[in-house]
């Protein structure tokens, strides 16, 4: 599908930028006819991916950069969130519910991304970095929701 709009955002790996990144993606996505709840879910997915980059990718080093690329087709938001941090050893395992390498965490970040977004794809190379791609179609939330009830 042709892209009607594109943006790239790059920012420092500090916690203050989690809410900045989610607000920026939501503002961009609001060019499509998403509902407020759709955008809330997109924001949760962005928070999870960005905090993973900060916490796991960069182990809280505050001087690294995280990149978000976003595109809009006529009815879909496409997202990619990238760091060049530590990377993930075993991606399949990382995607499993409740798997975490940090005993203080819940291991649900990827579960949220998977359930709120479509086509989650994780590419990673240990020592090189991680790229999380996902998309969200207008109307997808409503469909999923009516299926749940």
């Amino acid at each position: 599908m042709p892209l009607n709009n594109q943006m790239k955002l790059e920012f420092l790996s500090i916690p203050a930028n989690i809410s900045f990144a989610r607000a920026t993606v939501a503002a961009f996505a609001s060019q499509l006819e998403f509902t407020l709840s759709d955008l809330e879910e997109v924001k949760v997915a962005v928070s999870e991916a960005v905090s993973n980059s900060i916490i796991h990718g960069y182990r809280n080093a505050p001087d690294r950069f995280i990149k978000i690329y976003a595109g809009l087709t006529e009815n879909t938001l496409e997202l990619s969130i990238e760091d060049d941090g530590r990377g993930i050893e075993d991606i399949d395992r990382a995607l499993q519910p409740a798997f975490t390498t940090d005993p203080e965490r819940l291991g649900l970040g990827f579960v949220f991304m998977q359930s709120f977004m479509e086509n989650l794809q994780v590419d990673s190379l240990p020592g090189r970095g991680t790229m999380v791609r996902m998309s969200r179609r207008v109307g997808a939330g409503a469909v999923q929701n009516s299926r749940e009830h």
């Binding site: 809410s19 503002a27 407020l36 709840s37 759709d38 579960v111 949220f112 929701n145």
Partner: protein, 77 residues
């Protein structure tokens, strides 16, 4: 996750939606209230604290409530 999804759900169309307008209205009200209370214009942090919203949410609500943002955009959208 289903629970959280239902908790978050609120199916207003986002562009110029009623709840975005309401949030923007509340922000302006709070701004006036705090201006009177403090004797100066409040900072965005003070408004965010009063409303339990993030600073960025306040910015986005105000932006969404005022679209289109300029004559140029009106002409070209």
């Amino acid at each position: 996750v289903g629970e959280i999804r239902r908790f978050l759900r609120d199916d207003n169309p986002v562009k110029v939606s009623r709840s975005v307008k309401e949030t923007a209205y509340k922000i302006q009200q709070t701004r006036e209230l705090l201006t009177a209370r403090l004797g100066r214009e409040p900072t965005i942090g003070e408004i965010a604290g009063e409303l339990s919203l993030s600073r960025e949410e306040i910015v986005n609500a105000l932006e969404a409530a005022q679209t289109p943002a300029s004559i140029y955009e009106t002409l070209h959208q």
